[in-house]
């Protein structure tokens, strides 16, 4: 397998992850990190982003945890990172040409800024962007309320088509993130916490046969479903639109480098932003406790295409790839809802047919009253489900003192309605509209149960 190509004879692929904490943001020249405060050179960053011919205007703003601020409509959230591995950049295949099958994944070090994110907003692309409240009741539902945000507000030229608009805003986020990372993380840094993550070795890789074999610990695999319904519901792996791909095994820590990025304008609550992909908690937990509590034997990414033929092919192949790891059990995470429920059930039943146990992560759409069936498809084998909450649940969000972006779009967001504006300026809106509130990678604590 070419992606497991040995690097200087070293196996398995190991990544040292160094995390530098950012505790505040400010604007000043040059872009630098000083005592935990990140300063951003406004002109340098805006002129970089303006180099895209579709961009008409760029505005930068800062939002801090606890402030009375609403960021809306949020397109993507990204954590700035810098790869210290020569020839293996962050956002491989996105900001630079990169072929995972040609080069293999190399061991080495990655540095990230933790505590801050780059958040892209802009006039609405689809109807499915969301909001982040930095304080108030909405803050409890999203991990992003605890982050320092550099908000990049992009206006595109009039007449820009929707797909170009989406791509322009998407790329602006990666460029801004990469700019910050290169500016402050390139030079050696002493402070920061770090950990080493050791990836599983796959059947067929050098060194696999002698290390393979059971040691009495449960063997766990991970099937990572990515939203690929198309029409602005897209995800990219190494720059390739995942709906055009077949399921494949990945080196789990590829996600740290931004190998999977979001091009999604799907409902805010359960789309995986690029931040979610970079920090996939299932992968991290499976790696961190690998060898002590279980053996993490592998990760497969698969798509959620809309045609029945695609669903059947992808689920069959995904199940076979998972089975190639000979796991005892597999975690299956979903992205999006409705149509992907069918993919989830096919993946579940086909994996169980291999005699492998499954646990599924899904959110629910049980109606505002919670009385409807939560999923659009079911299967008797789906007997172990973790619920990440009913996204139709209505929450009242009081007005914020400051709005970054444009809150006039709130009635148009998926989860909003023309009746959601209350006389006192509050909005009664479904959780669906809050970015990441019912995330199906399992970041949050919200769940649902029968009353």
């Amino acid at each position: 397998m070419s992606y497991a190509k040995p690097h200087a004879g070293v196996h398995p692929v190991k990544h040292l992850w160094n995390k530098i904490t950012v505790s505040d943001l400010g604007f000043s020249s040059p872009t630098r990190l000083e005592n935990g405060k990140l300063f951003i050179h406004i002109d340098e960053l805006t002129s970089l982003l303006r180099s895209d011919p579709n961009v008409k205007d760029v505005r930068l703003a800062i939002a801090r945890p606890g402030e009375s601020v609403r960021i809306i409509p949020v397109k993507d959230v990204i954590e700035p990172r810098f790869s210290r591995i020569p020839d293996y950049p962050v956002f491989p295949g996105v900001l630079s040409a990169w072929d995972p099958d040609a080069n293999g994944i190399l061991s080495g070090e990655i540095v990230s800024l933790s505590g801050m994110v780059v958040t892209t907003v802009g006039s609405i692309v689809g109807f499915q962007e969301g909001l982040i409240d930095m304080s108030g009741p909405g803050a409890r539902y999203s991990l992003f309320s605890q982050k320092h945000h550099l908000v990049v507000d992009i206006t595109v030229n009039e007449g820009t088509q929707r797909h170009d608009h989406e791509k322009t805003v998407r790329m602006a986020g990666f460029k801004a993130s990469d700019y910050i990372a290169r500016s402050v993380l390139k030079n050696p840094l002493s402070a920061g916490s770090h950990e080493t993550l050791v990836n599983p070795e796959y059947p067929g890789s050098p060194g696999f046969p002698k290390r393979a074999g059971r040691n009495g610990k449960p063997r766990i695999a991970y099937l990572y479903m990515l939203q690929t319904q198309g029409l602005l519901h897209d995800t990219y792996y190494c720059g390739v639109d995942v709906k055009t791909m077949l399921p494949r095994r990945i080196v789990p820590t590829e996600v740290l480098f931004g190998a999977i990025v979001s091009g999604n304008c799907v409902s805010a609550c359960d789309k995986n932003t690029t931040y979610h992909q970079q920090n996939n908690p299932i992968i991290l937990e499976l790696l961190r406790r690998d060898g002590t509590d279980w053996d993490f034997v592998g990760c497969v990414i698969t798509n959620e295409n809309v045609t029945l033929g695609d669903k059947q092919r992808s689920s069959t192949m995904a199940a076979e790839l998972i089975a190639s790891f000979s796991p005892d059990g597999v975690i299956v995470s979903k992205e999006g809802f409705g149509n992907p429920d069918a993919d989830l059930m096919m993946n579940c039943s086909k994996i169980e047919e291999h005699g492998i146990k499954t646990v599924l992560l899904t959110d629910e759409f049980a109606g505002q009253d919670g009385a409807s069936q939560s999923l659009t498809d079911t299967h008797p084998k789906a007997d172990a489900i973790v619920s990440t909450g009913n996204a139709n649940d209505v929450i009242v969000l009081p007005p914020m003192k400051k709005v970054i972006g444009d809150d006039r779009v709130i009635t148009e967001l998926a989860g909003g309605s023309n009746k959601c504006l209350l006389p006192d300026g509050s909005v009664a809106i479904e959780l669906q509209a809050i970015i990441g509130s019912t995330n199906q990678l399992g970041f949050e604590r919200i769940s649902s149960r029968f009353k």
Binding site: R140, P218, I220, P281, I282, E285, L286, D293, W294, D328, G329, V330, I331, S333, K357, T358, V359, L361, T362, E364, A366, D369, G370, A371, Q373, S374, L375, T378, H379, P380, A382, D383, A384, I385, V386, S387, T388, G389, N390, D393, L431, N439, Q440, L441, G442, F443, E444, R445, I446, S447, S448, R449, F450, K451
Partner: protein, 356 residues
Amino acid sequence: MAEASPSRKYRVVHYVNQFFGGVGGEEKADCEPFTIEGPQGPGRLLEKRFREGNAEVEIVATIVCGDSYFADHQEKVLRELIPVIRGHHPDLVIAGPAFNAGRYGMACGAICSSLEPLGIPAITAMYKENPGLDQYRKTVLIVESTDTVSGMEDAVRKMVRLGIKRLRGEEIAFPKAEGCFEQGIRKNYFHEEPAYRRAIDMLLRKINGEPFETEYPIPFFDRVEPRPALADLKGVTIALVTSGGIVPTGNPDHIESSSASKYGKYPLEGLTTVDAKTHQSAHGGYDNTYANEDPNRVLPIDMMRKLEKTLGFKVHPWYYATVGNGTSVDNARKFAKEIAVELIRDGVQAVILTST
């Protein structure tokens, strides 16, 4: 709040059927509704337990109604009883416990469900297979009881505990924790652990064969693939089975008009037709005027006899009938299994299922 006014006496109205109201058993099930002042039957136990729970409760009235009378005149009874109950200005209404008495459970559910929208807290208790449960669980707090009256003490204890909370205006966020049936409504809450950790924990338990509880029980629908059509009916024995409730006149097996607990097996030998004199519909879920006028409309034996000659099949000499009206899936599955065993034993190769 009770703490703020310890001297406050709560007014409770209690609904019971003819049996617990002291009128009589099944033979008195046609008894019309009437009111007794003060507690009656299980009401005395309720009042006693409330007081032991430091809640000054007085059962101001006991409303009694026969189970059949209620079932046959539900709209009329409710129209009359709701104003009567309101006239007693109750802080709480308790119906039952109904245990596994189907019509009683339906009546308790109907009463509670009518009162809740009026702002009158109302609770009941029944057994998990009582048809009143499926009908009313979403709108009414129903305490789980045993199937027979032997569980009275336990049911009353749980009803009193729940009743005190409702008298004090406490929100019942998760009825299961109060000994009630889940209402089938999904409600969000914050778990102590993030979802990814719960998923891994659940998987480890599943792998190790330890018990685990899914957070979303999948509703399972029994999908039956239709069989391919028979190419040739010659020599084939065909049976008629209906959930449309066509039974011999007088409904000899007393199949319930709703939430059937049984089915019947009746002869077709020598019959060329069924008519209004010999057969009727026992079904309470559709307007059965036309079925009673000509029962062939639901049990098409007349047409079967005609086709029998031209197509050369044989009509099985027995038909099976039940009432598919609010009948639980569990009951329906049980009937089907028993009927299928007999049909196969008797050499039947095809079945025409008629429903309404």
